[in-house]
């Protein structure tokens, strides 16, 4: 992909117009490459489509023990309380496990930018064109 240095006009106090080069480059689809390496992705260099990813929260879960009484409504995740219930009532307890949400983790899903540096270029393509 061809990158062009972004230029701008400056006018001095004698109204002379000079074209100067800025510290940013832009490719054909609007992606910007900054002098210190920062990239502002706008669109896929291959299919030209703008990136359309989003952030979604995914739960991080943990397996915990789960005790359910087969003779009444008692249920608990603690072994000590369950043992007390069993001793006091002589009910039958069924032991299993369940998932507990520990926290939520934000991830980017959708058609995001994938950036790869080559010797003389920067490739910016979307997930679809990248084969994801």
């Amino acid at each position: 992909m061809e990158w062009k240095i972004i230029t701008r006009e400056i006018i001095d106090n004698k109204n002379n117009i000079t074209i100067v080069e800025t510290s940013q480059q832009i490719d054909e689809v609007g992606n910007i490459y900054q002098i210190h390496g920062g990239i502002i992705p706008k669109a896929c260099q291959k299919c030209k489509e703008p990136f359309d990813s989003e952030v979604k929260a995914f739960p991080l879960t943990q397996k915990i023990p789960y005790y359910k009484c087969e003779d009444c409504e008692f249920e608990n995740t603690g072994g000590e309380a369950t043992l007390d219930h069993k001793i006091e009532t002589s009910h039958n307890i069924k032991k299993s496990t369940k998932d507990r949400i520990v926290s939520l983790e934000n991830k980017i899903v959708g058609n995001k930018a994938n950036i790869e540096h080559t010797e003389d270029d920067i490739i910016i393509i979307c997930d679809r064109c990248n084969g994801f």
């Binding site: 990239i39 502002i40 359309d52 930018a113």
Partner: protein
């Protein structure tokens, strides 16, 4: 402009009118010898178009300047992400407020990042207000920490709380990207 005491009868020359004090230009325009030492003084204000910030001259020789930026937050905790799915590891927020808070229009990000696989490109993504696109992406193929920087505009954002979310991913399924220092500045 450098503030000079003017006396009755002083002549305003081109040098005194144009070569002093307040100047705008790319980094190459602001250094010696483009601006000669005789035309610079401690305290002169420049606008550096390469670094996109105001700068004040501190040492004339070599034109040592300090950048006038506002620190909006930092997080030096080391964090990692394994694999190709971009996952959030840090966030920093600030309030855009012309009255009492930060009232600038451009955000600068500085991050130390590295990967454990030099054959793939690892990405450090900056998002804003939980939004649907990367505001800025910093990349690395380095096996040791390197400092990466970039900037983006927030001039279209309304006043109020702005959150920046920082996501990371690496190019291979088992590859690990790490981030240590993270600093956010605004102008």
């Amino acid at each position: 402009m450098t503030l000079k005491k003017w006396a009755l009868g002083d002549t305003i020359t081109e040098r005194s009118a144009n070569n002093k004090g307040v100047r705008k230009g790319l980094e190459a325009d602001l250094i010696t010898p483009t601006i000669a030492d005789v035309d610079a003084e401690i305290g002169d204000l420049y606008f550096n178009e390469t670094e996109f910030c105001h700068q004040s001259v501190q040492i004339v020789s070599g034109r040592k300047r300090t950048s006038l930026r506002t620190s909006l937050g930092a997080d030096g905790t080391e964090v990692t992400v394994t694999g190709t799915s971009p996952t959030q590891r840090k966030d920093i927020s600030f309030v855009k407020s012309p009255a009492n808070g930060f009232s600038g229009n451009r955000i600068f990000i500085i991050a130390e990042i590295k990967t454990d696989d030099a054959g793939t490109t690892a990405s450090f993504r900056v998002r804003k207000n939980g939004g649907g696109s990367d505001e800025l992406v910093l990349t690395t193929t380095s096996l040791t920490y390197e400092i990466k920087t970039g900037s983006f505009d927030i001039n279209a954002d309304s006043n109020g709380r702005i959150t920046l979310e920082f996501f990371m991913d690496d190019g291979g399924a088992g590859d690990v990207i790490s981030n240590r220092e993270l600093e956010v500045y605004g102008v």
